[in-house]
Amino acid sequence: MNTNFLLCGVGGQGTVLASRLISTAAMARGLDVHSAETIGMAQRGGSVVSHVRIGDAVFSPLIPCGGADVIIAFEPAEAVRCLPYLKKEGVIAVSTKVVQPTTASLTGKVFESEPMLDYLKQHAKKVIVIDTDALCKKMGSSKIANTLLLGAVLTVSESSLSYDDLEGAIKQLVKPKFVDLNIKAIKAGQAAAR
């Protein structure tokens, strides 16, 4: 059986580190991992997607439409954009924080999170909404939205991630002085999702 994670957001939000944490956690269990990242011009404020595919029955590094067990969305509009990737019985963990595009500032159109979240709830079986902004403020760091969301998906069986493996991955990949903060964020994400 494969487990497919799709992570989406806007360039610079930290999707790459989150996907590496998932890969490292899965490899700690001896599983095969394939993944793919958005690199290059699109990183400059564009939509970015990371694909992480765990298991041995994987050919393409990209998840096919309708193939993601879990979508981790750092931005609600990007979650809507990536929804066709979700399996029928898949789970979405989504941040409430909208990133306004420069084009929206020019046209005066402001995007709100509510219609995005409503749409997700109507079309996905399970949606975990995390107010990452509030939790980041509470914990005093703007850089932990990614680990908050990872904590949230730990609570669902579809992710087949274990807390211990994820903690091990953080210790392996995150700079020592930020390890404790990110482990706390995992726990806060778990608590917020429950």
């Binding site: 806007v10 394939h34 793919a36 400059r44």
Partner: protein, 642 residues
Amino acid sequence: MRQMVMGNEAIALGALQAGVNVVTGYPGTPSTEILENCAKCRNETGVYVEWSINEKAAVEVAAGASYSGARTLVTMKQVGLNVASDPVMCLSYVGIKGGMVIVVADDPGPISSQTEQDTRTFGGYSKLPVFDPSSPEEAYAMMIEAFDYSEKYNTPVIVRPTTRVCHAYASMDIPELPKAHKYDGFVKDTQRWVIFPRTSYANHKRIFERNTTILPDDFSKSKYNFYRKLSLGDKTGKVMETPRRGIITGGISYAYICEALSMLTSAANKTNSRTDLKSVNPVLLLKVGTPYPFPEKQAVQFLKEVDEVIAIEELDPVLEQELIFVCGKYHLSTKIFGKLSGDVQCAGENTVESVKTVLNKYLKLSGEGVSASEAECSTEHNALDSDKPDLPNRPPVLCAGCPHRASFYAVKQAMKGKKTVFAGDIGCYTLGNAAPLDMTDTCLCMGADITMAQGFYHVDPERHCFSFIGDSTFFASGITGVVNAVYNQSKQTICILDNSTTAMTGHQPHPGTGVTMMGDVVNKVSITKILEAVGVTPVITIDPMDLDASVMAVKAADKADGVSAIVFKSPCIYVASKLGYEAKKSFAVDQSKCIGCKKCITELGCPAIVFKNGKAFIESSQCVGCSICAQVCPVNAIQRQA
């Protein structure tokens, strides 16, 4: 050790595993990380690594090393091969001594490139063998083999990954790296190393024989070219019914086909579980890992076992045309479908979905149950679309605080109302074309800004001609253009957007940064001195973050009779702290002073500024304190935060 390896890292590790001695290249998405990963291992292996000033220089440096018996790797993106093609074409005739592998990364889509050119076709043109990996794992193994082929056949070898292989990651077991290859040094031999018409004639005959008989036979036995029977729903493996169908593919499309076929098979199994399995035929899949020279013998064998074949590949119909050629040569009646028959998209990337759609039609699976899930999937998506909220477009933009925004704005202000042309170039600053700056009228290829501005001037001397070029691009291919413009008496203002790095590809060092890939701190090559030496006057260096001074500098330079230049010097926001610049406090809009005129938004298009409740608002998490919006605000409502 088992590790998560990026495709480009796998390519680097393959080369290091083959004992590569010298690695050269020029940055370009999607190839950049290959050389960077080689550099990481320079201490343990003893490899020499450099960012050359461009791809032509990279190939020539590698050629000298290779003539000395060293194993060499050159890395570039597909358009870089255009720059390098002069030495590459000649090297093909001369040959090499130490194995030489040229990795050229193609970019179907294109995702970050000007063209969708196909380096496999360059193999035939330049007479160089081409390997085409379909995964990071295969890329690693092919690199090792490519060095052996290079030495066995005395020729540079091209390895051509595409973006989705370069940027894919796989968990791989990588053995410990050996020390770099031992070599005996250069031995003088003018017959061999000096290219002359008569030696090229003799070499042409030798290469022709190699590429038309020896290598195709060798490649027909290669493990990278194989075909196998795939059953769709039929587990008995019985003889295929008519028509017997085949698929030919290579590169990442192979992975998409395997994925699509496994999805179609499980769908067929579900639908046909209680009905007749005979309704779905097995299919023969030929995967080609060496598109040039084409493994002809194997293809003939394959073609004899099928009545029709579909070619699924990206970029040019290379495999499709090879099969058509083989059918003609051997009088085979196998029908060939693909891009040329209109059955496969002729441009852009393939995806699992696009391949699935093509296969569904080709294998005539519709009406046999498999299409049910497809149809269901598409209705599901249509249902999704009807009440879907509007989604924001997110075209790539200059970062908040990017010094290029300030430079472009200064030129725009200084030249307001004048008849102008703004010739742009390749780099982050190509994004200066976007609204509201709208400051890039042309962009063609690396280095074309200065030379094109010259062309605009000669046919329209009244026009104020400006060229925009980054510091790395200036070294790569701008300097010859400056000499040409000065020598040929043109008039233009060259704007050097010097942000002290190669930003778009991920902040590589270049001659102006004073750092090399070997970790040495060296003298910085001065752009200003080069311009002055060539005869550009005046050459004005200015900090673009001082808007008024920049506008005055542009006006002064524009008044010059010949070629003038402004060096807009301010570091990329991503390297500023590394260069020792202190982080600046962010700005905020005083909501009581803001009159809601939106000038900061409509003039600059900075992603940190949004319009909320009739007032401008700065996202402090994005603002890096560049101050340009504060300089633009007509009522002084934008202030640096305490």
